[in-house]
Amino acid sequence: METSVLLIIVLPLALAAFNGLMGLFVPAYRKNEWIIGGLGTAAVAIPFVLAVKLFLGFHGEPEVVTYFTWMAAGDLQIEFAYRIDQLSLVMTLIVTGVGALIHLYSIGYMHGDAGYWRFFAFMNLFIFAMLNLVLAENLLVLFLGWEGVGLCSYLLIGFWYTDLKNSAAANKAFIVNRIGDFAFLLALFVIFAVVTEKIDGSFGFDFTTLLAPETLNLFGAGTLLGVVLLFFVGATGKSAQIPLFVWLPDAMAGPTPVSALIHAATMVTSGLYLLARLSPMVLMAPAAMTVIAVVGALTAIMAATIAITQHDIKRVLAYSTVSQLGYMFLAVGVGAYFVAIFHVMTHAFFKACLFLGSGSVIHAMHHVEHELEHKGVLGSNGEPNDDPLKRVELPYEGDFDAQDMRTMGGLRKYMPWTAGTFLVATLAIAGIPPLAGFFSKDEILFKAFELGYNGEMWAYFVWIVGVVTAVLTAIYMTRAYLLTFEGNPRWPDAMDTKPHESPWTMTAPLVVLAALAVVGGFVGLPAVLGGSKIHHFLVHDGRGPVAEPLHELHVSPSIEWGLLFLGLAIASGGVLFAWFVIRWGARGPEADASVKRFFGPLYGTFSRKYSVDQFYQKVIVNPVVNGARLVFAPFDENAVDGAVNGVAKMVQGMALRLRGIQTGVVQHYALAFVLGVAVVLALMLFA
């Protein structure tokens, strides 16, 4: 038990260090892609096997393994301890399982990249940090992981750092995350202040103490609300919710496996994990839960509407991720923590599959781009050739972009595996039964409806928003699938330039993830279909790590059936709408025109992404920059530099006057010596 947990944690770290150091100091090692990739994948696959073993041997009682004392100062004693319980096991399985598949995929995807070793070192480091986050027994170890994943996210977004755009995106992600991390820290301080005074020998950072009812009762209602809201702000940073979601779409600058692993399946769900872990605490702050639900719902619909207008395939998926995370926060807000974790799991499956599929497509389109450049149709940077004989028309202004769906189309013919798995994942996220997304999303909406039905009117509001978002989800995902894989090819010289399917290391993870996206939902069947296994596992009749509201909620089975069919109807309605409008109504990029017509003036707002970035630029960034320029720059130049230079000038002046003392004649020194003797004697006599 202790050894397995230790191996799970340490193996990714060890191989990250190995690959990183070897790559850094032994240039010849960088060429061994199979060794680097194999070791990197094994560093995640072996922990996955160990986690499965732990999962099968788990008996329902949480266990804490302590390795060493991290810090000890007076009474404060922070242990490096990990917690094995239902929640951490589920998260560990997701992180290592999906992580292993994505690592396997990366072996093929990153082929030929100069930073191959760096990539796998960072990825393994990320897995290490993420495992620290989900397995931590106390908030400080969790925070270590929390910051660690932020760091790895930064490193991997800026992986191709020679492009300034990527570095800027990495900085943006890091800085926005700092805001959330700051709130997290404040929450820690409050807990420290509240709990330390009251409980001897414990500082309330370990979950066993913190989540015990006696400890939670120490908090006043207002303090508890504040702590939960601070944690929620921390979660909005990491999990890309309003108002801190702006970094996630830009984070797509990183390699696609990074988007799949960090910005879809694992890191962005850490905010959800945190709230689920602290669910007994969150439950005691109902006002905070309302805020969480409303923010989640608004994020969901906002991101979904933006996703409809995007042309970059990865950006569509990024906004889709933001939207789905909003769903999960909605679930947390209505008190259905286990459903949030359930959706985390199913979302990890189908969103990872979608991202990896898009990566496969981008891989193929890059091949097309290189072939076109080789033929001279495109310039070396993907710009259309000026030569009138070879002139080609792109469907949009600017350079050829391998990620732009407007130059794709008809790829199903060339890459059947990618297209098939992408379709399965699309249907899963759209919520077509019996795929995974149907059950988890339906359960979220059901829980929201249930709460509204039992008297909380605001829950109806988030439920309606959720339903509308579900329709939009079906529409934009179907649109993405159709634009990419159906219709006729739209890249230049399409008759003679043929993309091809990716290697097996890339398609195999796709197939596995698609299969999981099909069957993953069956662990969480609704009550009328036999009851949710994951609910039973996580909640464990009130003894599990995930708490539930105590009050009984009742909805008659007929309404539950009705909601199930409503879910089916909105999902298929959305898919069919998109299918008819885009596939048969209009072809290719013209399809966007019909979407545009449908939404009318709103479309502009959507495609401008609600101008949130511009708003932040105007309201926060510009004032700060201008303020710095107007106030702090002169202050720095005059006051700070003035003080420094002034000290130097003063010393210089004093030295010029004092150097007269240093005559070099020993007798003068002896005179001072005797003066000292006289003073000492005087002190002896008179003092």
Partner: protein, 169 residues
């Protein structure tokens, strides 16, 4: 009574010699005055019943060290300093400071000696400081220090030779 008389006699000789050393313009005169002081101090040792130290004082200081001084003075063939050196503030300050230190020392001696232990009889003291007892103490209790003094003298000899060699500095 004789003891008191001898003390003041030698004390006066010592102070006069010291002052002579201080104010003589010729270094040779300074050295000769110094020898007079050293002799007086040796005599004071004898009046203190410390005959051994008195003899050593004459042998080492008056006999060896002062001869060395005179030898160097002759070797360098130094001239007398001009009669009136300029009286600058440093000299005044040095003089005032010296007098202040002297006053303070005398004040300490007259005011703060009450903490000392009881004095012993002079016969007992003479017995304790006999050459036999000094020799025993030197070669038993302080044997290591004695060896170290030997090493120090050797090092000083070598150092002096090195320094005095031509073209060393």
């Amino acid at each position: 009574m004789l003891e008191t008389f001898l003390f003041f006699l030698f004390a006066v000789v010592a102070v006069v010699g010291a002052l002579g050393m201080l104010i003589a313009r010729n270094p040779v005169s300074s050295a000769l005055c110094m020898i007079m002081t050293l002799f007086a101090i040796a005599c004071l040792y004898v009046t203190l019943d410390a005959a051994f130290i008195g003899v050593i004082q004459v042998l080492i200081y008056a006999g060896a060290i002062m001869v060395l001084f005179l030898f160097v003075i002759m070797l360098l063939n130094l001239e007398s300093v001009p009669r009136l050196e300029q009286l600058d503030w440093r000299k005044v300050a040095a003089f005032v400071l010296g007098i202040a230190v002297l006053a303070e020392l005398l004040a300490v001696i007259s005011l703060r000696l009450d903490v000392l232990p009881e004095a012993v009889a002079s016969s007992e003291a003479a017995e304790a400081a006999s050459a036999t007892n000094i020799g025993i103490a030197l070669l038993t209790e302080h044997a290591f220090s004695l060896e170290m003094i030997g090493v120090l003298l050797l090092a000083a000899t070598i150092g002096a030779v090195m320094l005095a060699k031509k073209r060393f500095v």
